[in-house]
């Protein structure tokens, strides 16, 4: 365990953020060796050199995933991800597919379906790069959806998602998201209901392929012990003839503002005893709709990140029994749709004579809003000029750190930025973050978090999670849940499809 990584309680925070964005927060590094070209069919190709080990990673990324779902096909992007490994015209079965990976000496292969993308990757010895690129070209261009295999793979997928549907972290986050994104909740849940998976047909997958698995909606990322010219040539050779229609429109119309008074309480048998988790959420900017605000948001995150900085110190001093400053987290996972600011912390339980956890949550929300109001009043006075520069340096350093491993850079960082935003956004990110001013921060906080006055205050959603053993010992808890308008979370009502039945 390291101090900075806060691994102790990160399980909850980590899983919470998973639902917003799979790879976590990190940004591109301006002077990194990333080369980029667009083939005539619209396929974007990125090449990143890193000669540490004689390996190369080939990653194919498609925009889509949960953000492109509707109620009928929710969960099918994930099923498609599984089926892409199940066979194609050159490698007709999963066994043939796996054998080809083994013959290439692939030590690492996988696929992921996120809320905003689907990616697949393999790592090959660098002297077999050509085979690796050819391999994906077959999988992407010529998949075969065998009916018998599809039925088997549905069982595998149900094994997987049943684990998510019974996971208390997943239950808690879905309970919240299905309520704040009540218009299009299926755009925030990757796994979907089991019934959707059960009833999916090969024709459904074919339809999905034609809409999303096309060059104009795809990026090919090649990284590691590679030479850019050779990699671009191979990309053209194997993907140049790939055809498809226009890029699909994803996540339109946008998720709306949060409704007021979303307040959830989750008494969970498995949760930590001794602490409770408190979260506040605000509707944040969407990267293609409020682009500049996303840069400002990222700089703000770094301004607030120090455990001994003014923001966290103030909350520790004034807050009602906060556990530790290292577990105060303000997050903004950049999103194409449904951008969200999240504040997460932990409160100590069992404090003699203290008000209930619900009552203390109400107090804490007010304190957090007041602290943001203090920042908005005069950000320069609150932080000081030096802190703004430090925040920008931290942001650049994080980018340097993300570059250390070529494979994770493309499968995580670059995948994320390309699919969530655009190529231009990626390449101009650092420059735009450096331009963020205190005025930008003031405007941002007023528009998204505090409002300029009480009447214009944006909605804030509140979620509290505590152990059953701790919580019900607190005098007045049940009464406070009712009085303050909290809704109890249960595994039977957490997911969007349960609420619609």
């Amino acid at each position: 365990m390291t101090i900075q990584k806060r691994s102790l309680l990160c399980l909850c925070i980590g899983l919470a953020s998973l639902l917003f964005v799979t790879p976590g927060f990190s940004e591109p590094y301006a002077s990194n060796p990333v080369s980029h070209r667009v083939l005539s069919n619209g396929l974007e190709v990125f090449v990143t050199e890193n000669h540490t080990v004689p390996l190369a990673t080939v990653c194919v990324v498609f925009r889509g995933g949960a953000s492109a779902q509707n109620p009928e096909n929710a969960g099918i992007f994930h099923l498609y991800e599984h089926m892409l490994f199940a066979g194609n015209e050159k490698y007709p079965t999963q066994a043939a597919f796996t054998a080809a990976l083994n013959r290439m000496g692939v030590p690492n292969w996988n696929g992921a379906t996120g809320s905003q993308y689907i990616n697949y990757y393999i790592t090959v010895p660098s002297n077999r790069l050509a085979e690796g690129i050819e391999f994906w070209s077959w999988a992407v261009k010529k998949p075969v959806f065998n009916e018998e295999k599809l039925e088997k793979e549905k069982e595998v997928v149900i094994n997987e998602i049943r684990g998510y549907h019974t996971d208390p972290d997943h239950i808690f986050q879905n309970a919240l998201q299905s309520r704040v994104f009540y218009q299009f909740p299926w755009r925030k849940n990757i796994d979907g209901p089991e019934e959707n998976v059960q009833k999916a047909t090969a024709a459904d997958l074919q339809q999905m392929r034609e809409a999303y698995y096309i060059p104009k909606n795809t990026a090919l990322m090649i990284a590691g012990d590679v030479r850019p010219e050779e990699a671009f040539k191979l990309a053209e050779q194997w993907f140049g003839d790939w055809q498809g229609g226009a890029a699909p429109i994803i996540a339109e119309p946008p998720q709306g503002p949060f409704p007021h008074n979303v307040k959830l309480a989750y008494a969970d048998d498995t949760f930590y005893q001794g602490v409770s988790m408190v979260q506040f959420f605000w509707r944040g900017p969407d990267v293609l709709r409020q682009t500049k605000d996303t840069y400002t948001s990222d700089v703000l995150l770094f301004l607030l990140s120090s455990p001994v900085g003014r923001f966290k110190t103030a909350l520790m001093e004034k807050g009602p029994g906060l556990y530790d400053e290292r577990y105060i987290d303000f997050s903004y996972p950049t999103s194409r749709d449904g951008g969200t600011y999240g504040f997460t912390t932990y409160l100590r339980m069992g404090i003699s004579g203290a008000p209930s956890i619900i009552s203390r949550t109400e107090t804490l929300r007010q304190l957090v809003l007041e602290e943001f109001a203090s920042i908005a009043k005069d950000p320069e006075a609150y932080f000081g000029k030096e802190e703004l520069e430090k925040a920008k340096t931290k942001l650049i350093d994080q980018n340097l750190l993300s570059m250390e491993v070529a494979s994770s850079f493309v499968t995580g960082t670059l995948t994320f930025w390309w699919s969530v935003a655009t190529t231009d956004y990626f390449f101009s990110y650092e420059k735009n973050c450096k331009a963020v001013s205190f005025q930008d921060i003031q405007d941002l906080i007023q528009r998204y978090i505090t409002g300029v006055d009480e009447r214009s205050r944006p909605a804030v959603a509140t979620a509290v999670r505590f152990s059953t053993a701790d919580g019900w010992k607190e005098a007045g808890l049940q009464k406070d849940i009712t009085n303050f308008g909290y809704q109890n979370v249960s595994p039977e009502t957490a997911f969007w499809w349960q609420q619609q039945r």
Binding site: M1, T2, I3, Q4, K5, S7, L8, L9, L11, N50, T52, V53, P54, L55, P92, T93, Q94, A95, A96, T98, A99, A100, N102, R103, G105, P107, N108, K152, E153, K154, V156, N159, E160, R162, G163, T166, D167, P168, D269, T270, F271, Y272, Q273, G274, V275, S305, S306, V308, G309, D324, E325, T393, K394, Q398, L400, L401, M403, E404, V405, A406
Partner: protein, 484 residues
């Protein structure tokens, strides 16, 4: 020259003279002299050896530096031998808590100073404990090394051990234990460790137990530091674009002061005494789902069977995937693997299954192919048939290549390289021994692979844990899992 500079120059001269005086002493962590002489070295080994600098501090602490310019990140690790082997059920977790407390404050650096520096430099400082050793490490960007090294060193030689820091660390540690109860898979691991380790020293788990941590006081951490934090337990591994001479001086004047308390180092951990049984762990939240893991004693990295077992289990994993997942759709993720401890053990895993009552039959079907000397086909002309099998000898070159690539994959970061070097020392006493792994893999024969897997897995003694909702685990037939 002012007085301060004069003293500093004299110190430097003394340190330099001392190093010259010690230049001929053999490096204590380079034992295998024959294997690393010129004629026995491959080109790969020769190339890697050039990147190492080794020396011994005046208090006997060996230091290994691997120069790597591949990334802008450095990692500096103080390693304390012993781990669980030096603990008891009563003191399990004490070392980890003490080290974490040290990372929160020292004579020169307050908690606020440390947090502020780590945040500004995007660096990490902290401790990690395993069955055989613990580390106290700092990792960050190269440009911050001169800021971070004095901080790391001061935490080690002048820890403040404040009550509030200890209380917070202890609370974190207790919550970390609780977190393992919150997930059916980590819960499976907890139960397995308890059942499989039994009275073995590894049962003194490095993270501690609720009982041991509940009894721990600040004075225990201070006592641990006073008695156990001894130079004879310590070595240092650094990887990055560091200047070895500069680092040597910095280390000599800081951790070179750690006294030798002559802590008795433990003998090699005994082998496991496993028993064949099935443990059912109810986890009500996992409705309609189960998690299965079987652990078995395995050869240590110093054992000639180790590489054969690693490569063999890759073949077994592919068979499990082919049969249990691909043919029957019975699990999300099947796997078989071993670890790399001196007292070693392996696991056979079925991560998420809704048919735990049937799954052992499917596992056995896959293992039966291996026991006949076959694995999944790899040739393009036969592999399209999911039931196609080929002799192990025919597939072996493919799996060797796969394993070698995996080896490279685990060397991508400087922190990964440091971990490999540390593991090499712990397992063999020689920091270079991991460089021989490539040759060991290349020289493997099919009969060695089949024999190793047969000995440790197919004929081995497996302790099984199945975790899930009651309806899931009650139906698992014990006879499928237990060898009478």
């Amino acid at each position: 020259m002012n007085k301060k500079h004069t003293i500093s120059a004299l110190t430097g001269l003394i340190v330099t003279l001392f190093f010259i005086g010690c230049a001929s002493a053999p490096f204590p962590l380079a034992r295998d002299t024959e294997a690393f002489t010129g004629k026995n070295l491959t080109a790969f080994e020769q190339e890697n050896l050039k990147s190492f600098t080794t020396f011994t501090l005046s208090n006997g602490i060996p230091v290994i530096i691997k120069k790597s310019n591949a990334s802008q990140v450095f990692t500096l690790n103080l390693v304390l031998r012993g781990g669980s082997l030096l603990a008891s059920p009563q003191t399990a977790g004490y070392e980890q808590v003490a080290l974490e407390t040290m990372a929160r404050g020292s004579k020169t650096y307050s908690y606020e100073d440390i947090q502020s520096i780590l945040d500004e430099t995007s660096s990490s400082l902290g401790a990690s404990s395993t069955f055989e050793y613990a580390t106290f490490s700092v990792t960050g960007l190269q440009k911050y090394l001169d800021t971070l090294l004095p901080l790391w060193a001061d935490c080690l030689i002048n820890p403040s051990f404040k009550e509030e820091d200890f209380t917070q660390v202890l609370s974190d540690a207790q919550l970390a234990l609780q977190s393992k109860e919150q997930d059916p898979w980590t819960k499976t691991a907890v139960v397995m460790n308890r059942e499989f380790f039994g009275p073995h020293p590894y049962g003194n788990v490095p993270e501690g137990t609720m009982e041991s941590l509940k009894a721990m006081k600040l004075q225990d951490a201070i006592d641990w530091y006073g008695k156990q934090f001894s130079s004879n337990r310590i070595f240092v591994v650094a990887v990055g674009a560091v200047d070895p001479q500069k680092l040597r001086t910095q280390l000599e004047t800081s951790i070179g002061k750690i006294p030798d308390k002559k802590v008795p180092l433990p003998e090699k951990a005994p082998d496991f005494l496993a028993s064949s049984r099935l443990v059912r762990q109810e986890y009500p939240a996992s409705r309609g789902l189960a998690y299965l893991r079987g652990d078995f004693p395995a050869p240590s990295p110093a054992d000639p069977d180790y590489m054969a077992m690693n490569v063999g289990l890759k073949m077994v994993s592919d068979l499990l995937f082919n049969v249990v997942r691909d043919k029957y759709g019975a699990t999300y993720s099947p796997a078989a693997y071993i670890r790399a401890f001196p007292a070693n053990y392996g696991s056979l895993v079925m991560f998420k299954t809704k048919v735990p009552d049937k799954i052992k039959t499917y596992i056995d079907e896959a293992l039966k192919d291996f026991s006949r000397g076959y694995c999944v086909a790899v040739a393009a002309d036969t592999a399209a048939d999911p039931t196609a099998r080929i002799p192990i000898a025919e597939a072996l070159p493919t799996y060797k290549a796969l394993f070698i690539n995996e080896y490279y994959q685990n060397q991508q970061t400087n922190a990964q390289q440091a971990t490999t070097i540390i593991s090499s020392i712990i397992n063999t006493g020689d920091y270079r021994s991991y460089l021989k792994d490539m040759a060991k893999i290349e020289n493997l024969r099919a009969d060695q692979v089949q024999k190793a897997v047969s000995k440790y897995l197919l004929q081995g003694t497996i302790t099984w844990v199945v975790t899930g909702s009651k309806d899931m685990i009650d139906g698992v037939p014990e006879k499928d899992f237990v060898n009478k």
